[in-house]
């Protein structure tokens, strides 16, 4: 047993320690959420033991297709990101905001109070840590703080997992968001399978993380073990299935609203909104007011919305984004360009979900590259 664990130092844990970690988190009152298999995909849901993890499975992803495949080893985290993202826990798809009751003087509003949920996320990838950091900015900075998000976020404990492989749709290296978790976690694990040995190289990123390690049986990682973990992450970096050149992309997209490529993608885009629902940074929502039959009680509900919906731009004078072109252009330009103006960061972390889960297989990296290839703005300048 090593001496007290320190932030930033590397330790090793075996499979049993990982199991104990789940038990420890559960016993300390966390709802542990992690990757598990359902309906032919790896999704995020409650995880009670390592038996719930997709042991020995991996995913094969391409534009518009996702398939699970058996691995040759028994890795517990040998896949990349699936259809769900962690935003479903922090920013729930549907949420009651308040109820109202008719009174003599009009009506009274009662905000929805929730017992703050205590989540522990197990298996958060580096791109996802960046996505959470982006949503933190959206929901917790400046004047309009979202109370639901904030309460859940403040209680959140994060166990990250460094990727040891990348999907065909991954491009975190381009976005500078992975594959190695650098910040924003309590504990980060790198899974190593070395002949007969199966272990995790662990690093604490916070005192909660060192506190957790302390309760598990851990050893200091030796130089060979550290090297094996680094090799795993390097392998993922080399396997990136996609690249996106971000140089000057902010201006590139803002300068090319009339690029003919938008017309091409508009022919393919179904405006189905799957990309925005799957994206871990998309944060738009709409509200619905419902009443009971008597009209004496009302509720306001919030649910995820999308810039691909016609009603998204409904105003007094009608809808403003009728064409598929205007909707796709809005989405991609916001993600890669105007997000910088608004939040001082890219809106894309390179997770590839919008590529895989687009039924048409529309690929944000391909669209950006096509616009870069023949930028209209340059033609004008000539």
């Amino acid at each position: 047993m090593a001496s007290s664990p320190r932030i930033g130092a590397k330790y090793t844990l075996d499979r049993e320690a990982l199991q104990n970690l789940i038990v420890e988190l559960t016993d300390s009152g966390y709802q542990v959420m992690g990757p598990t298999m359902r309906d032919g995909a790896i999704i995020y849901d409650a995880v009670r033991s390592i038996a719930d993890l997709p042991e020995g499975w991996t995913d094969d992803q391409e534009g518009g297709t996702y398939r699970l495949e058996k691995r040759l080893d028994n890795a517990l985290f040998g896949y990349n990101v699936g259809p769900h993202s962690w935003k479903k826990f922090l920013f729930p798809p549907r949420q009651k905001l308040w109820t109202a009751k008719r009174s003599d003087q009009g009506f009274e509003i009662h905000p929805e109070e929730e017992e703050p949920l205590r989540y522990a996320f197990l298996g958060v990838r580096s791109c996802e840590l960046h996505a959470i950091a982006i949503q933190d900015k959206v929901f917790m900075e400046d004047a309009y703080v979202d109370p639901v998000y904030k309460a859940r976020r403040e209680n959140l404990l994060i166990v990250a997992v460094n990727c040891g492989q990348a999907a065909n749709t991954c491009f975190c290296v381009s976005m500078n968001t992975g594959p190695e978790a650098k910040a924003g976690f309590d504990l980060a694990l790198t899974e190593v399978i070395d002949n007969d040995r199966h272990y995790f190289v662990a690093e604490a990123g916070s005192e909660r993380g060192t506190g957790l390690l302390e309760k598990l049986s851990f050893e200091s990682a030796d130089s060979q073990e550290e090297a094996a973990a680094n090799a795993a992450v390097n392998r993922a970096a080399e396997q990136m299935g996609r690249t996106l050149n971000t140089q000057g992309i902010r201006a590139l997209l803002q300068d090319n609203p009339d690029h003919p490529r938008w017309d091409d993608v508009a022919k393919r885009c179904l405006s189905c909104a799957n990309c925005t629902m799957a994206c871990p940074t998309c944060f738009c929502s709409t509200v619905e007011d419902v009443t009971d039959l008597s009209g004496d009680h009302a509720e306001r509900w919030r649910s995820w919305d999308s810039c691909f919906n016609l009603d998204f731009t409904y105003m007094g004078g009608g809808h403003t984004r009728h064409s598929f072109k205007s909707r796709y252009r809005q989405w991609m330009t916001h993600k890669l360009s105007t997000w910088h103006d608004q939040f001082d960061t890219s809106g894309c972390v390179g997770c590839g979900r919008c590529i895989t889960w687009c039924p048409e297989g529309i690929d944000i990296t391909e669209e950006a590259a096509a616009i870069r290839k023949t930028p209209k703005s340059q033609e004008k300048k000539k």
Binding site: R38, D39, G40, A41, I43, G64, T65, Y66, R67, P83, H84, K88, P93, R94, K267, R268, C269, L270, S271, C272, A273, N274, M277, A278, E288, D289, V290, T291, D292, L293, S294, G295, S303, W304, S306, N309, L310, D311, H322, F324, T356, W357, P359, E360
Partner: protein, 260 residues
């Protein structure tokens, strides 16, 4: 809500299977509350009692397929302050609109022993093709919660919450795994109007487009995706030609794949 006097509701049936009226009956518990708030003046599926008009709210089920019905719907409109059509038949012509793409006389001669007694129109059409409709509720059949929502919204003088976006959004809000992407199962969700809460994809089946086209469906792209998932051209024609075959969007989808 109208104070004092309960609004008078009438339910009308045209060419249909009664499934949408049954959705209303299926609301058992909720129906008691509805019956408390409104005076049900006519509801053939539920009661033989009949009160004369005018009516505050008329719910119309079924499509127009006969010359008499084409007349009758005008009378109903004249007696109704507010008229809502419910279901695929009333909002698009229904499955019986398949006749629109064939010769109806030929059907009659095959089906009936004495075709001379049969008086029918060449086309099955939506109610809104004949009269002004205040609101259309989609679905084959309509979703009972949506039906209650529409009645509720009417009683409270507010806009009903019946979003016109894709089924995919409902599917993703439920946390479903997309059957098209993960299993290769053809699914009409991307062009289909929400309302069923993505019931088929939730049971690992593709969407059949019971609620008809969404606000702005991209039909050619949907056709390409279905083809890409291995669907035969003739089955793509069938996918568009179901309960909402007579909608402009789905007519186009079917036509594009009928041609070689």
């Amino acid at each position: 809500m109208v104070q004092g006097k309960k609004p008078k509701l009438a339910v009308w049936k045209f060419a249909s299977c009664d499934g949408c009226q049954l959705s209303l009956l299926d609301c058992e518990d909720e129906l008691l509350a509805v019956a408390d708030s409104i005076d049900i003046a006519s509801f053939p599926e539920a009661t033989r009692a009949f009160k004369k008009g005018p009516y505050d709210l008329s719910l119309v089920e079924g499509s127009i397929t006969t010359p008499e019905d084409a007349e009758r719907i005008h009378q109903i409109r004249r007696q109704s302050k507010f008229l809502i059509t419910i279901g695929a038949c009333a909002t698009s012509g229904g499955i019986q609109a398949l006749r629109n793409f064939k010769d109806v006389k030929e059907f009659i001669s095959i089906v009936y022993a004495h075709p001379g007694y049969i008086q029918t129109l060449k086309h099955s059409t939506a109610i809104a093709d004949h009269i002004r409709v205040d609101f259309e509720l989609r679905g084959c059949p309509v979703d009972k919660m949506q039906l209650l929502e529409v009645i509720n919204a009417f009683l409270n003088g507010r806009k009903p919450n019946t979003p016109a976006h894709s089924v995919c959004i409902e599917c993703k809000l439920r946390g479903n795994v997309c059957v098209m992407v993960a299993h290769g199962t053809p699914c009409m969700g991307p062009v289909t109007h929400a309302g069923c809460n993505a019931i088929c994809p939730s049971y690992n089946r593709g969407c059949y487009a019971c609620f008809g086209p969404k606000e702005t469906p991209n039909i050619p792209s949907m056709g390409n995706v279905l083809e890409d998932k291995g669907m035969e051209r003739e089955n793509i024609v069938r996918a568009f030609r179901s309960f909402n075959a007579n909608t402009k969007a789905f007519q186009k989808g079917a036509r594009d794949y009928e041609k070689d």
